[in-house]
């Protein structure tokens, strides 16, 4: 039984990768969690998970040069599938293989978190949103971020993907986040899972190559992510159904 979430935001800099790993670690208390760096154009997960020297990455799998299991690393209580950073790796990678990779991983985990690209500009960037059961929208309380979050939601719902909830991230004290979140919820399908304060701990964690929950488990931000994980009602579908849906999601022979 598995549910696949794409962690998405239209805009960069919202802390998507930090959020993906933090949610993953919090969920790992109750579920088998697999994190996939589905942002194949701008790999990030490896830097956050101490995997910058990983030999085999998702790029190799998407290029047909390695088996999926070779790119799976057990870190921080989760299975992590990082992407590589080389341009040639990106060029050789066939994004369509992602669906096979996710289908394969789905057989052996409860929750898949797809860290997706901060753009809706290309097919590869949107693919994780198509593949996922639901998205978690990471937002900052700014107009560009909310506006992009709305666009992401429209893409998701157009492709039959649900909205699991909103994560307001990098929230500063001078913002009336309750008022903003309350108003934003009128337009989004999911509820607010958490409001995560702007935090030096998140930057320090990234520099240390550790997920926030490992680096600063007692920080306010970490507590907020644990709260978000608690609010996320994981609705596991049968693994076969997920795998089958991935097969149907794309028309590979036309590409």
């Amino acid at each position: 039984m598995v549910e696949a979430f794409a962690v998405a935001s239209g805009k960069g800099g919202t802390g998507k990768t930090t959020s993906t790993l933090a949610l993953g670690m919090a969920l790992a208390d109750s579920y088998d969690v697999t994190i996939v760096d589905a942002d194949t154009g701008m790999a990030n997960v490896l830097f956050h998970a101490g995997l910058s020297d990983a030999e085999t990455t998702l790029h190799d799998v998407l290029a047909g040069k390695a088996e999926t299991r070779e790119a799976v690393y057990e870190r921080f209580g989760m299975d992590v599938v990082p992407c590589g950073t080389s341009l040639s790796g990106f060029r050789d990678a066939d994004p369509d293989r992602l669906r096979d990779v996710v289908a394969e991983l789905a057989a052996d985990t409860d929750v898949i978190l797809l860290d997706s690209a901060a753009t809706l500009g290309s097919r590869a960037a949107v693919l994780p949103i198509v593949l996922a059961d639901r998205i978690v929208v990471v937002l900052q309380p700014t107009i560009p971020s909310l506006s992009d979050g709305l666009k992401v939601q429209e893409y998701a719902t157009t492709y039959g993907t649900g909205v699991a909830g909103l994560l307001f991230n990098r929230v500063t004290d001078d913002e009336d986040i309750d008022a903003i979140a309350g108003k934003a919820e009128r337009y989004f399908e999911g509820e607010t899972l958490a409001t995560v304060p702007e935090s030096d701990a998140a930057r320090a964690a990234r520099r240390a190559g550790e997920p926030l929950l490992a680096h600063a488990p007692d920080s306010q931000a970490a507590a907020a992510y644990r709260g978000a994980a608690g609010r996320l009602d994981v609705q596991s579908g049968p693994s076969e159904a997920v795998a089958e849906r991935f097969q149907r999601a794309v028309v590979p022979d036309e590409l």
Binding site: V126, P141, P144, D174
Partner: protein, 178 residues
């Protein structure tokens, strides 16, 4: 809003205004930016967002399409990207009258927050503003602009509608069938 013509220093199409705001701040630009939306479906296609700078610090905002001023204008500019940008230099004296027009005044850090979503740039802008001992309206934060945006159901419906249409068009283009 009447602005004397300035000297054109930059002209290009941009999707992200971070660089523009940072460049203006770092070069201490006094002048104005004209931001014309390349997205004809949003707002008034003829509308141009105007943002003025004094010594690199944003001072007033205005939108000719929606006739909005100040924070509201900024909200209108924020949803309208990508933009064709024209950046002009203009001397202080020529801008004085505009800069004294209260309803158009914006907190200096607001464009960095709302248009660029860059807290560090916002902070730098605030510091620069303080250094220049310009008047700041501390009590006015960017939140009211965000809330005003969320109260604007019509604009949000336009964003949603357009994204939906785009998603449908691209589903075909990209071979998604769900």
């Amino acid at each position: 809003m009447k602005l004397p013509s300035g000297r054109l220093v930059r002209e290009r199409v941009v999707t992200d205004l971070t660089t523009v705001l940072a460049t203006a701040l770092d070069s201490g630009l006094t002048g104005y930016a004209l931001l014309e939306s390349q997205d004809a479906l949003l707002l008034d296609a003829d509308g141009v967002g105007v943002l003025t700078f004094a010594d690199g610090v944003p001072a007033v905002a205005y939108h000719t399409g929606t006739d909005s001023a100040g924070e509201e204008a900024l909200a209108d500019i924020a949803v309208a990207g990508p933009y064709r940008l024209e950046l002009y230099e203009l001397d202080d004296a020529a801008l004085a009258e505009v800069h004294d027009t209260d309803p158009m005044t914006i907190p200096p850090e607001l464009p960095a927050e709302q248009l660029a979503g860059d807290p560090q740039l916002a902070e730098r802008t605030l510091e620069a503003a303080a250094t220049e001992q310009r008047d700041e309206s501390d009590e006015t934060t960017g939140d009211s602009a965000v809330e005003a945006f969320l109260d604007d159901e019509e604009t949000i419906a336009e964003i949603q509608q357009r994204a939906r249409e785009q998603a449908q068009e691209r589903a075909e283009e990209w071979g998604f069938r769900r």
